[in-house]
């Protein structure tokens, strides 16, 4: 269904390339000289706190926001000044933006209608895409009659019917409950693999990015803090911001500047070996397979140890107890002094 067999695709170096892209709203710089290369057929997540510029970046790629400076290339074509349709992108909006006055099949067939495809043909093609997202039984319903998860599937079918080279997703899972979110996450990943096109997915949830992405791009203040495969980012966060934002890390003072230590590599024990930090237990959170023990220390910043459940129950601690957090020197990851 993708366009990978079209001429020119083999020559393209990247599916999406941003070259020093800047977005200014008046005097506010939302995206600051951002450069990014998204390889072929990859699942790329733009991850960051709200206001970090990830949505502006996505909207510029989609063509819904003018670029103040820099260039956007899709399959080696400079599309900076192209209208959305000519870019080969399709966007799925955060609120899905399904047309409330049109049935599901007319929503999905909308772009075909705009191109003057006859009704019988466009409905036949729309049916295929409804089937792709397992919504073939809902063709005649109006969006208002569907649940959030079902609306999302319709929005997905509508975006895919143009056979885009790149699908852009703006916080696609944020409106769903936890159960549906995990289910849709799996499905998005499956679709991306099956279609063989690039997905660029904006999210503020690190677990989503970790689970989905080939390439995670952590952003803050309109810049890229770090990018790479999820395990690279998680194992070697580039800065204190990244370590804190992706979670599961303790940011601690080391002998040569700040270090990050994964919380699951920390133990509660005695200060006999390795590095340690003392503090009072503030919270004990049972999470099934693991127990998270949070400590209040003189650092001010909360630190925690994630302990396997059997290890915890062999040596349980209670809030208020004075304990020692221990980690081995080899697990200490030095953090860069970068701004973000």
């Amino acid at each position: 269904m993708g366009r990978s067999d079209e001429a020119g695709s083999a020559a393209a170096r990247f599916d999406v390339e941003l070259v020093a892209v800047t977005k200014r709203f008046g005097t506010v710089v939302a995206v600051d000289g951002l450069s990014l290369r998204v390889p072929h057929r990859s699942y790329c997540c733009l991850l960051g706190p709200s206001g970090c510029g990830k949505t502006s970046t996505l909207r510029m790629i989609a063509g819904h926001e003018a670029v103040s400076d820099g260039d956007i290339l899709i399959w080696d074509r400079n599309v900076t000044d192209f209208p959305p349709l000519r870019r080969g992108t399709a966007m799925m909006f955060q609120n899905y933006a399904l047309f409330p006055h049109k049935s599901c099949i007319d929503n999905v067939a909308f772009s075909l209608k705009m191109r003057g495809v006859r009704k019988a043909e466009r409905h036949a093609r729309a049916h295929k895409f409804l089937t792709l997202v397992q919504m073939e039984g809902f063709a005649e319903r109006l969006p208002g009659q569907l649940s959030g998860g079902q609306q999302q599937r319709i929005a997905l079918a509508r975006a895919l019917i143009n056979q885009p080279q790149v699908l852009l997703l703006d916080e696609p899972l944020s409106a769903l409950d936890t159960f549906l979110r995990v289910q849709m996450r799996t499905e998005l990943r499956r679709l991306q693999r099956d279609l063989g096109i690039t997905f660029i997915h904006v999210t503020h949830a690190q677990d989503e990015a970790m689970a989905l992405a080939d390439l995670v791009v952590v952003m803050d203040n309109g810049r890229i803090c770090q990018m790479g495969a999820p395990h690279e980012v998680f194992d070697r966060p580039a800065s204190a911001f990244v370590a804190r934002f992706i979670g599961g890390h303790n940011v601690l003072p080391g002998p040569r500047g700040p270090i990050a230590v994964r919380a699951d590599r920390c133990r509660l024990g005695s200060a006999s070996s390795g590095s340690y930090l003392r503090g009072h237990v503030s919270t004990v959170e049972y999470q099934g397979t693991v127990v998270r023990v949070a400590l209040a220390t003189e650092l001010g910043e909360p630190v925690s140890a994630i302990v396997p459940d059997h290890a915890f129950f062999a040596n349980p601690v209670n809030p208020g107890e004075y304990v020692t957090l221990v980690w081995s020197e080899s697990d200490a990851h030095p953090l860069g002094a970068t701004v973000c």
């Binding site: 989609a62 063509g63 819904h64 209208p83 959305p84 349709l85 992108t89 399709a90 966007m91 909006f93 955060q94 609120n95 933006a97 399904l98 047309f99 409330p100 006055h101 909308f110 772009s111 209608k113 705009m114 191109r115 005649e140 319903r141 109006l142 208002g144 009659q145 509508r158 975006a159 143009n162």
Partner: protein, 286 residues
């Protein structure tokens, strides 16, 4: 609500405070003041053929309604009714077109948009009679004849346009821009986006503005009276009738115009209800 009455909440729940009854009484009086005179008029419009403009009723009949459509010596009600409907239709269409365009245009702030907005709506606070007077004077200075679709149309638009724009701004404010972005994303041109997405989604609000303008025009008096020329609209004709003669025909006219107004409002609400129900229907039936 609770058996035993031991709960202290039961004491608070028993009866309403006296202020409730005082305010309810006040509201009742207001309703009586609002609808009482109209009810009297509706009743008297069915006065018997030998009855007058006051009680008692001398039998009941429909002769006064029949009287409306007879071209009288002093008033021609059917002709003025037609003029009123024609004018209200044109006023309504013009108001809708301009209000929708302005509503969509004003979504984006531009240099001078604030000033333009206040200039456009200022005529809401201008004394209506003076607006009409000014327009009438202007036509005379320019040597133009005042008539239904020139001066009267303009005078009524000074009233319906600001109203329509206010209403459209409120409607457009709630319009989610991502619908339009989605349409562009799917390859719709600016026109296609407007025709297939923006206008249909705004349609309930547009119908409301159109009907609002229609009813405002249909019973407009103060702005129209000095600019209408020689052929009256219905309200002007009725006023002439009131000042020259009194018969239950007047009441019959009142009953019919009220019925027309309520019909227009009813049809509008029904249309909006249908559209919204179609969209928001949550029943899982196919």
């Amino acid at each position: 609500m609770m058996v035993g009455g031991r709960s202290h909440a039961a004491g608070a729940g028993r009866g309403r405070p006296w202020t409730f009854y005082a305010l309810a009484g006040l509201f009742g009086l207001f309703l009586l003041f609002l609808y009482g005179p109209m009810l009297v008029i509706y009743l008297l419009s069915f006065q018997g053929p030998n009855g007058g403009v006051t009680f008692p009723m001398v039998g009941t009949s429909l002769v006064w309604f029949a009287d409306i459509v007879k071209p009288g010596q002093m008033a021609n009600i059917p002709a003025s009714f037609q003029r009123s409907i024609a004018l209200a239709t044109v006023v309504s269409l013009v108001t809708v077109v301009i209000s929708v365009a302005a509503g969509l245009g004003f979504r984006r702030r531009f240099a001078g948009s604030g000033v333009l907005f206040y200039l456009a709506v200022a005529s809401l606070v201008m004394p209506s009679l003076l607006v009409g007077f000014g327009i009438g004077l202007g036509f005379r200075v320019l040597g133009l004849d005042a008539s239904l679709f020139t001066s009267a149309l303009g005078a009524q638009l000074t009233w319906t346009l600001p109203f329509g724009m206010f209403a459209m701004f409120a409607v457009v404010n709630r319009f989610d821009r991502s619908y339009e972005e989605a349409a562009s994303d799917l390859g719709a041109s600016a026109w296609q986006r407007l025709i297939y997405v923006t206008l249909p989604i705004l349609m309930p609000g547009i119908i409301g503005v159109g009907m609002g303008a229609f009813t405002l025009s249909y019973d407009e008096y103060a702005r129209t009276t000095l600019v209408i020329g020689t052929r009256n609209t219905l309200p002007l004709e009725i006023y002439a009738l009131i000042s020259s003669a009194t018969s239950p025909t007047l009441f019959a006219i009142g009953t019919v115009t009220t019925a027309v107004s309520f019909m227009i409002i009813g049809v509008t609400l029904w249309a909006i209800y249908r559209i919204q129900r179609r969209r928001a229907a949550s029943a899982p039936s196919l």
